[in-house]
Amino acid sequence: VRLINARIQNFKLLESLEIEFSVDPDKPLTLIRAANGSGKTSLLYALRWSFYGMEGLPPQAADRRLSASFSTPGVPVEIQARIEFEHYDDVSRTRSRFRLIRSVTETPGLEDTVDRGPEILRLLRITSSGEEEMDGAQGIISRIIPSRLASIFFTNGDDVQQFISGHIESPRRQNAVHEAIRMLLGMDQLEIADRDLDKVLGSLKREMAGSGGGDLEAIIDELEKANDALDESTSRHKLESDRLARIDSAIEEDEKELTGLRGIGDIDEINRRIDALERDIKTLKGQEQSSLDGMKALLRSEATSWTLMAPELSSGLRLMRGLADRNVIPGTSLEVLRDRVELETCICGESLSEGSKALERVLELFQEQKEIEPVRAKQTQTWHLARQSHEAFLAEVDRGGSLQNQRNSTLSAYTDAVHGRQGKESDLEAEKARRSMIKEERVQELVRRIATARVKLSECNRALGEALRDISTQQTTVNQFNEEFKKAEARSKISAELSARRDAVEDLREVTRQTLTILKTDHVARVSEHMNRLFLDIVGSDPELDASVFKGVKIESDFDIIVQAGGGRTLDPDFELNGASQRALTLAFIWSLMAVSGKEAPRIIDTPLGMTSGGVKRRIVEMVSTPSESHADFQVVLLMTRSEVRDVEDLLDEWAGKSITMSCSKDYPKDLVSDWGVEHPVVRACSCDHRESCDTCRRHYDQTRGIAQRKA
């Protein structure tokens, strides 16, 4: 198949897009330059849809609209893809041109729903006398460019690891490799031919028995019964294999969704974390309150007064000490004076007799003392309290418990508690948000479905085993009857024509089976060797050098692609292979398969050079642009960003026969220079190549990167 042109209408933002593909064998590359979000992936999907319908799109696309998301609800939109391509017929050795038209009408509803009508597919053969409508269009397309090989022909560079990624379940990955090899090497065609020839041989033998009579008829009856039983077992095996593949696929889908949901977290575990966080928050709030209380007590404490008002209080203390030293405090006791008066003798021994001067003086003193007693009592009390308080303060300071230290320690405990609480509250909020995202019922449903599917898988495997055993036994029986038939045939008279027909079928079947055997062994090895050479060349690794990281890559007998490092070690493609090498390996596999099979189809790659740079980047472009042998139909379509184009411009000059640039109006004014004056985002194409820009596609940084301005 060689693509000639494509016209896409109303597919996502591709409102009206026309592309001419390069059919120049010397410049087999078609370059579609587009920035991120400018329609590269939409175009890849549009091409896949045009060939395969919804089957060609990712499963989740079935529920999504093909038309633009801003389409007016209730207004039908016709989505259409018209692809013109050439196909070279192997048998007639003639080249035919076809036009494929796929269309569907979508009526957008509210809230992103869509009512999609039936798809209409037409395939027209273009001849010199006009166009001829082909019956069974999808069947013809499937034979020309099988949907099972869609990932070979239409590759998303960001998703190229399906043949190698350890993230993909090993049987599925091996199956992808096996399927690609089988289809491209033509093994499936040979297997169908082999079954057809078996049937033809059976039919011929029946004719021979009819003409030979006798033993032959009896034997052919038995042989047919044995063949029928073998057919039944073979069909059963195929049914179970298909069923197994379907169950396997369903399990993978469910597990993918479950992993996504569980990636958010396990609901029980999240609830446990929420409980623990709530407990921690309560404890921290208690610590916070306790620190605040401590701080309040500290502020109220005498130590704070002694620290903050040290000069004033010290001065007061000194004054009081002076009063004490002068025995002003504590003051003379009124009780003592009263006792002295009653005893009529002073402490000094003088008589305090009635009318004496001494008594008069003591009574004056008594009166005086009586007047000042409350003040002095207070002074005394204050003096004692102040002295004790000061001594306690000094002792505390000696122990290192200064106000500053106590303040710092309390404040630190408080801030720790506050920060701790805030952190826990934030965690709590996140956990609660996570919990709200988990659709627990869906998780339970998926778990149930996977468990049920696994039981079915196990039943399927058992049934497959039984079918294989039956096939083996029945094959032996068929072989025995065939031997008997030959012996009986030798005894009977069969016409030369019938014998020649039988010989032809048997010879043809022998060639078919031997060819199949060679393809399964020798050719898989050739794909493996070819891939190894290409890969090592791209990554610039010489396996003979001790310092080289890669020693080689190969396809194992179980169809796993493995990467070999020094010391007999194999590398994990996900963790030990960088993005550029992963891309190089997958592309090397696809290119090797095409080269060894000798079959040709367009290879359309979205973002082929992401994550690559330098020599690897250049060598990838060289590999994908260079046909391995005859290059009549060799065709490569690369959908690249400006960053990918950088540093390989000279190679694109050499290999690109056609170039276009796609831009999206949403990039104005941030990146695009010109305002297209459109109401909704739309993707447009211009004929600028990788060294040019025009009013439609010019971006602000183009001039600084040497991209020349061109008049549109």
């Binding site: 048998v91 040979l190 031919a193 000798g598 040709e600 042998e629 005859s630």
Partner: protein, 76 residues
């Protein structure tokens, strides 16, 4: 898809394998390879098993009859 040259294709393998078949008349092996191509190509036009096998039998029968005629000519 189209065959691109014969050196790497299924056909080239089949051409090697046919050498193990007796040359029942001069050119028999090459005719057999061409017959294989025709039988395989029926898959492109006849998707139903019954009709495809009927067509295959017609092709093989015609081939066998022609082979018988040529074999008589050569005495093999």
């Amino acid at each position: 898809m189209s065959w691109r040259g014969d050196s790497n294709s299924l056909l080239s393998v089949a051409k090697d394998q046919v050498l193990g078949i007796p040359e029942r008349y001069s050119g028999y092996r090459m005719d057999l390879v061409n017959l294989l191509v025709q039988v395989i190509s029926l898959q492109s036009t006849e998707s139903a098993d019954v009709s495809r096998r009927r067509e295959a039998k017609k092709l093989v029968s015609a081939f066998g009859d022609e082979a018988a005629r040529k074999r008589k000519g050569t005495g093999k």
